[in-house]
């Protein structure tokens, strides 16, 4: 029943969007859509909730405007595809699939409605902020890019999955984690890492078994499915979430996205952020403590520019610990990967580094 209601709500929201445009046309007005701005200029860091929120700046996208016409058409067309092809038939489609449905040449021109997937992805994010619906509610999914192992049993579409018995690969986290059920959770904490290679190392070493935890990874930037899953594990199961990243500015940003939210998805922060998660490493202090100086990779100009930019973000600028990290990065003039710990022994990470860190609660907030 709840599902039906949700679907109707989604269908209605999209239809409303269309009807507003038809009304403009009937009034002989330039049809337009008001879109909240999804950019740093309209993202506010809420000190109370410790999350990124979308401000109230909006832009008006009009059809009869040479610079906006195509984007306007994309918006209506994607809305119509989602309503007709996905919601009304109760099917789901990937971002990539939506891209291929919209990637067509407009008759009698040499113009493609969309050329790159980033365009259709961006339209879907626009539709989220316009309608207030999440991507999941629009039946659009992202690529599966994550794995999970550990002492947890899940119910996924009626199948019971014991994540302690899944071998080397682990459980492949679906792009929509909203509807997963946590049947049995024995773990004490969740360790989330940006590197799949590190996940494999820890899984082979049975780190989760020895330390009674859950390991989760997604390659590079954390997907929405993983972020929602981490949030639910934190909120519903009260598990501490530890984040393990490379010792560089990009690792720091990945951590901040998991914790506070991202600029592009500030509108969805409420359902994605984990304000009380902790950064376990790699820190610049680890570089000194574990003698990793020789493993440092020299910073280039792009890295330095990014350090400057990130250190000025509202959610970092008053954080003394992080500012100290950024300062050390610049002093060392280098960055370090998680895997560099292997110079101290292949299983140094699972046998010494992580247990020591967790025992001493040596985290960054």
């Amino acid at each position: 029943m709840e599902k039906m209601a949700k679907k109707n709500k989604s269908t209605e929201s999209l239809k409303e969007l269309g009807e507003k445009i038809v009304k403009d046309i009937e009034k002989n007005k330039n049809p337009n859509v008001v879109v909240p701005i999804r950019a740093l200029s309209n993202v506010i860091f809420n000190e109370k909730t410790k999350t990124l929120e979308l401000g109230d700046k909006t832009s008006t996208r009009s059809f009869f405007d040479i610079r906006q016409a195509k984007k306007f058409l994309q918006t209506v067309e994607v809305a119509s595809i989602i309503k007709k092809e996905l919601l009304e038939t109760n099917k789901h489609e990937h971002l990539r699939g939506i891209f291929y449905i919209t990637k067509r040449t407009i008759p009698e021109t040499n113009i493609n409605l969309v050329d790159e997937q980033t365009e259709s992805d961006s339209i879907i994010e626009d539709l989220e902020v316009i309608t207030g619906l999440s991507r999941e509610e629009l039946h659009v999914s992202a690529n599966k890019m994550g794995s999970l192992v550990g002492n947890i049993t899940l119910l996924d579409s009626g199948d019971t999955i014991d994540c302690s018995k899944l071998g080397k690969g682990g459980y492949s986290v679906p792009s929509i984690t909203e509807e997963l059920e946590f049947k049995k959770v024995n773990a004490k904490y969740v360790l989330y890492m940006e590197k799949a290679a590190v996940f494999e190392r820890l899984n082979e070493d049975k780190f989760w078994q020895k330390n009674n935890c859950i390991l989760i990874t997604s390659q590079g930037q954390t997907t929405r499915g993983i972020r929602r899953l981490l949030q639910r594990l934190s909120e519903e199961e009260k598990l501490p979430i530890y984040v393990l990243c490379d010792g560089d500015i990009y690792g720091a940003y990945i951590y901040s996205v998991v914790k506070y939210g991202s600029i592009a998805l500030a509108h969805a922060s409420e359902r994605l952020t984990i304000p009380n998660c902790k950064y376990i490493g790699i820190t610049m202090d680890d570089v000194v403590k574990y003698d990793l100086k020789k493993q440092l990779i020299k910073l280039d100009e792009k890295d330095l520019a990014r350090i400057k930019q990130v250190s000025l973000y509202d959610w970092f600028k008053d954080n003394k610990d992080w500012q100290r990290q950024f300062k050390m990065m610049k002093e060392f003039g280098g960055k370090v990967e998680i895997q560099s710990l292997a110079t101290r022994g292949i299983s140094f990470i699972s046998e010494v580094y992580l247990p020591e860190k967790i025992k001493k609660k040596d985290f960054l907030d």
């Binding site: 038809v22 330039n30 009869f64 405007d65 040479i66 016409a69 058409l73 409605l113």
Partner: protein, 527 residues
């Protein structure tokens, strides 16, 4: 001793070389170095003479050029004009003697300069075919027409007349020449066809009928009845002479005093300046010019160069004029946009000159390849030695990108354009006697660049406006394509009928059109 014997031996071999003999061995110097170019040169020399003759007589030129192909290596060139004709006694000298003419010794703008061209063509004909040149000429309806067949005695540089008859001719006055030569007819940038086309652009007052070797009759009609302004003869300017020239002038002068000589025999020297020159040269104004010693002349020469003297008068020049140049371009070049300019007179080495530039853009011109450069001097096209010419240097050194043409490295610009550069001067400084490339004088290059920039700025305004307008049309077309798409998507989103939405959106487009254009215009300005 041995040396002396050698000197006597050498003396036996030393003798005067006639100019004709010199030409025999050095015909490339006059532009007759290959059969294709030779054919073009013969036509050019004859047509240049005809146009000059018509200018002398102040008559609108009607010139007929015919090239008959005997076989692929041999042609008869026939050029006929309605000029003043040539009196009987002079015909052999003009056509049968190299370096004979009225143009060399005076300072006035004309197409020919040395009086070498047409007789060189006669010589080339006799050299390659052994045939005599046929000439018809008549000076007045009251006098009979004369027919000559002649060759050149190369040892003496004298005409060798084979036939000399009075004949009946339908023309009241004019000259016709028939020359048989070895040649080759090709089309393209350096062809007779191109020469005729260019000469008709820069002589918009002339009608030229051209019968090609393929027997095609091409008519280049005049677009103006206005004769070019008559170019006055001027006296030399002190900055333009050399020491030897000054010595000769002092000997030849009719003036009895140095001051009189300076005032009468030079341009731009008045009584005041003449006295100043005398004073600075430490010479008496009353001094007899013929009595000056070499040392005194040297001082006088130096002072002449140092004294501030006004630039020569430009009466001696006859530019085409920006308006007529544009009409000339329009009649022969199919383009969308034309711009022309005539600069004010300027001076190099005491010689006045005027630069004119015309640019034709768009239309049927080739968009992909290099823009065409047309170089002209005193209304004569220069088809060879483009790379060695000062005009080419000036065009290459101009930055064409801001003007809307592409340009890479040290090259001519690319794009659908023809760039025409005309230099009018009493004495065009050619790099060689073939008269195909202009020497690199800084003053000339600078003037050409200024003229190019002037036209370039107008071209850029046109191109940018034109491109904007085209983009605008394209964008409006785009809306017409977008509307059915939007109607379709909206219809499936809301259930409204797409035909109705389509119709309403089309109406709305009409209403929005003015604001669309205005907005786009503003954007254009911002850029």
């Amino acid at each position: 001793m041995a040396d002396n014997i050698k000197a006597y031996e050498l003396a036996k071999q030393q003798r005067e070389i006639s100019i004709s003999e010199f030409f025999l061995k050095n015909r490339h110097l006059l532009g007759f170095d290959n059969p294709t170019r030779a054919l073009m040169m013969v036509v050019k020399e004859a047509v240049d003479n005809s146009l000059d003759a018509c200018a002398e007589m102040k008559v609108l030129p009607e010139i007929k050029v015919e090239i008959k192909e005997i076989n692929e290596n041999r042609f008869i060139v026939i050029v006929e004009d309605n000029g003043p004709g040539i009196i009987k006694q002079q015909i052999p000298n003009i056509f049968g003697k190299l370096l004979y003419g009225s143009k060399f010794h005076r300072l006035r703008q004309s197409m020919g300069q040395q009086g070498i061209g047409i007789s060189a063509a006669v010589l080339y004909s006799q050299l390659t075919t052994g045939k005599a040149t046929k000439i018809y000429s008549r000076v007045s309806p009251k006098k009979p027409a004369h027919y000559f067949e002649l060759q050149i005695d190369t040892k003496k540089n004298d005409p060798h007349v084979l036939k000399d008859n009075e004949i009946k001719w339908e023309k009241d006055h004019g000259t016709k020449i028939e020359i048989e030569i070895e040649g080759r007819y090709l089309k393209g940038k350096q062809s007779v066809d191109e020469y005729i086309k260019e000469i008709s652009i820069v002589n918009p007052h002339a009608t030229i009928i051209y019968i090609t070797p393929e027997k095609e009759k091409l008519e280049y009609k005049r677009v103006t009845e206005e004769l070019p302004k008559e170019a006055k003869e001027i006296k030399p300017h002190p900055y333009g002479i050399e020491l030897g020239h000054l010595i000769k002038m002092l000997q030849d002068t009719r003036a009895n005093t140095l001051q009189g000589f300076l005032q009468k025999d030079f341009s731009r020297i008045g009584a005041h300046t003449a006295q100043e020159i005398c004073k600075n040269s430490k010479l008496k104004p009353a001094e007899k010019p013929k009595k000056l010693e070499n040392k005194q002349i040297e001082v006088l020469f130096k002072i002449l160069q140092e004294t501030k003297i006004m630039a020569p008068s430009s009466d001696c020049l006859s530019p085409i004029g920006a308006e007529l140049l544009e009409r000339g371009l329009r009649k022969e070049i199919q383009a969308d946009f034309y711009v022309t300019t005539t600069r004010s007179p300027s001076v190099y080495r005491g010689m006045p000159f005027i630069i004119e530039v015309g640019i034709a853009y768009g239309g049927e011109l080739d968009k992909e390849s290099q823009s065409r450069l047309m170089r002209l001097a005193n209304r004569v096209p220069l088809l060879y030695q483009q790379g060695a010419c000062a005009v080419t240097e000036a065009v290459i050194e101009t930055n064409w990108k801001p003007y809307g043409l592409n340009q890479s490295g040290n090259n001519l610009p690319t794009g659908p354009a023809i760039i025409l550069v005309h230099i009018a001067s009493v004495w065009v400084p050619f790099t060689s006697e073939a008269k195909e490339a202009i020497a690199h004088y800084d003053e000339i290059i600078k003037e050409i660049k200024l003229a190019l920039q002037e036209c370039g700025r107008k071209l850029s305004i046109y191109i940018h406006k034109h491109i904007r307008a085209a983009e605008q049309r394209e964008k409006i077309n785009l809306f017409e394509r977008y509307i059915p798409e939007l109607a379709n998507a909206l219809s499936s989103l809301t259930g409204y009928k797409k035909e109705i939405l389509n119709e309403k959106l089309q109406k709305l487009l009409k209403k929005m059109l003015p604001t669309l254009e205005a907005k786009n215009g503003e954007n254009g300005k911002e850029k």
